[in-house]
C-alpha cells in the first residue's frame, strides 16, 4: 500500500539555523499538508498546498516558514531561522483529490532546536 514518507526521522539543529524537512506524498495525490505536534500537545495544522500554491495557512505559518514542491515527488517545509519553540514533531499528509477528504499521514520528523 502506498505511504507518505518523510526524511529525516529526527533533525537536531541550533537556534537560528535553517532546516528543510522533506516529504514524499503518495504519488497520485494532489493536496499536500504540513502539521506539527509539540510534545504533549495536539496536532496543529500549518499549511495546505494545491496546484503549486498555498491554499490555506494557519497563524503559526509565519514568514519564517515556506513550502515548496521542487519536483514531481517531493514536498518540503523550510524554516528559515529556527527558534526553540519550533521543536516539535512535523507531519506531512497528502490527499488524493477534491472528492476524497481522507488525508494520509507520514511518520513524522522530530525537530529538536537547541
Amino acid at each position: 500500500e502506498p505511504e507518505v514518507t518523510q526524511t529525516p526521522s529526527h533533525q537536531v539543529t541550533q537556534m537560528g539555523q535553517e532546516v528543510i524537512l522533506r516529504c514524499v506524498p503518495i504519488s497520485n495525490h494532489l493536496y499536500f499538508y504540513w502539521y506539527r505536534q509539540i510534545l504533549g500537545q495536539k496536532v496543529e495544522f500549518l499549511v495546505s498546498f494545491y496546484n503549486n500554491e498555498i491554499s490555506e495557512k494557519s497563524e503559526i505559518f509565519d514568514d519564517q516558514f515556506s513550502v515548496e514542491r521542487p519536483d514531481g515527488s517531493n514536498f518540503t517545509l523550510k524554516i528559515r531561522s529556527t527558534k526553540l519553540e519550533d521543536s516539535a514533531m512535523y507531519f506531512c499528509a497528502s490527499r488524493m483529490d477534491q472528492t476524497r477528504t481522507e488525508q494520509y499521514f507520514g511518520p513524522g520528523t522530530r525537530l529538536t532546536v537547541t
Binding site: 496536532v43 477528504t101 494520509y104 513524522g108
Partner: protein
C-alpha cells in the same frame, strides 16, 4: 470556527473492559469526522471515518464510532479493549471545502492494564 473537544485526557482501563471516548465538534456545515490513533513512538493512523450515510461506522481493530448530529458528537467505542490498544486517540474534523485542513482534538491517552 471549527473546533473539536475531547473530554477525557487520560483513561485507564483493565483488559477486556469496554471503552468509550467522548468527542464533540463544532462546525456549521457538512463535516467529515475521523478518529486517529498514535501508538507509542509511531505516526498517526486512521482508525475510522464518517463522511455520510450510516451514522454507526466500524473501523479497524474492533473500533466503532457513532455520529449523533443532534449532539454534535462522534464517540469512539470498543466493547473489549486489549493491552495493545494503549495509545493516544485523536478525534478530528474537517469541512468539505476543496483543500480542507483537519482540526484535531487534544487527544485522549488510553492506558490498558494487562
Amino acid at each position: 470556527a471549527q473546533s473539536v473537544s475531547q473530554h477525557n485526557h487520560h483513561v485507564i482501563l483493565s483488559e477486556a473492559a469496554s471503552l468509550e471516548l467522548g468527542c464533540n465538534y463544532s462546525y456549521g456545515g457538512t463535516v467529515n469526522l475521523f478518529w486517529y490513533v498514535q501508538y507509542p513512538g509511531q505516526h498517526l493512523q486512521l482508525l475510522l471515518k464518517y463522511f455520510s450515510g450510516d451514522p454507526l461506522v466500524k473501523g479497524i481493530k474492533g473500533f466503532e464510532a457513532e455520529f449523533i448530529k443532534s449532539k454534535f458528537s462522534f464517540n469512539l467505542r470498543k466493547p473489549s479493549v486489549q493491552w495493545s490498544d494503549t495509545a493516544e486517540y485523536f478525534c478530528a474534523v474537517n469541512g468539505d471545502s476543496s483543500a480542507s485542513k483537519i482540526i484535531f482534538g487534544s487527544g485522549t491517552r488510553l492506558s490498558i492494564r494487562p
